[in-house]
Amino acid sequence: MNIDWHLVGTSLWPIVRGGLLGTIPLTLASFVAGLLIALVVALMRISGRAPLSAVARVYISVIRGTPLLVQLFVIFYGLPSVGVTLSPWPSAIIAFSLNVGGYAAEVIRAAILSVPKGQWEAAHTIGMSRRQALRRIILPQAARVSVPPLSNTFISLVKDTSLASLILVAELFRKAQEVAAFSQEFMVLYLEAAAVYWVFCLFLSAGQNLVEERLDRYVAH
């Protein structure tokens, strides 16, 4: 196979630009919104109130039991038929954040439950309410525990955002597709897209290690 290095060179910037302006903002926005959803759902799950817990359980089950691509298509191509038409970007952010919300809720729930019961008791014994105990004592410790699994969710999300190319979001993979369609050099461009994703994820993993090291200082071993 002859590699057209000139094409690799000229297509690199459009692809990276698609990553910087599409993939990364889409990932960040969906992840932040997804974490907020996940926190609420996790708290509903452990609230001890049957209706709240049931709603949370059904939500998690639906999200985890259906393909992300189907979720994305329901929101972008399905909702217009019931009168809700969303542009590509909002559709993608909604779909991805709902998806992250479902997966991360279980991570956060497990992390909260992993904090020893004695921490709740110590918080209560100094007079804290359940809410105060959660905010000041339990969640900071749960946060440390959930960094590695949430980093996995985050890195998966970076790659999953390539699905947004199917609803016309101008992200990294769609840029590669556009150049490929024009030049007919599919192998070169898709490998190039893969390489750019990989480099992004290498940086993210390095960032994860930094965060873990930082949080580690405050945890009992």
Binding site: Q119, T125, G127, M128
Partner: protein
Amino acid sequence: MSPTDPPTGPPGDVFAAPLHDGAPLLRVDGLRKSFGDNQVLKSIDLSVDRGDVVALIGPSGSGKTTVLRCLNGLEVPDGGTVDVAGELHLDFASPLSRKQVAALRDRSAMVFQHYHLFPHMTVLQNVIEGPVQVQRRHREEVVTEAEALLARVGLADKRDSHPAELSGGQQQRVGIVRALALRPQLLLFDEPTSALDPELVGDVLTVIKELADEGWTMLIVTHELAFAREVADQVVFMDEGYVVERGDPSVVLREPREERTRQFVRRLLSPF
């Protein structure tokens, strides 16, 4: 209560007269608590005078720790009454409101067997968390007080350390300071030295003894009989959810009236 339960305490339980004149700070009557089918507290009566140290002793599973946890609102008793300082009166026959539980916690502070310090906070933050976040006292004032308390237990230089950097004995002394900083009327100790290496026990007991000398009112669950004999004004021996015997340590620990107490004391004093 199931029909098989005896209506009152076990035979021989004599409600001891107060050993000192002061009015009782804490009075517990008929405290009951079950976990499922397991009736841990069958009927507990206690009276702790202001400034007194009461040692709760007894075999494991006798319900000592559950008594403390009920008094700190960590467990909700099934029945009985608790009176603190004649000001707070709780009857557990009906469910307590959140406010009542908060009021009960406000009166007492607990020192745990396994310390339960907050690992993500420094020593100082551990100590000031309750007074600042819950009691809403002025931060500077609380910090000054916390530093003085830490200095008293020999930990002034550990102010900015995290619990993971401390020995067990140091962590437990922080646990005690965290309780003191809440300015409780009653200090509750749940086997404060049981998780410690033997050579670290002394430091913690010394601190508790100093608090006793200063007039703190304390209820201590302990297996350290020698310590109980030296520090306690009253020893309460519990077994199977009842108070079997209570009184002056020299009597309960040297010449117990009850056979069960005798056996327990003998076993602890000469385990072999």
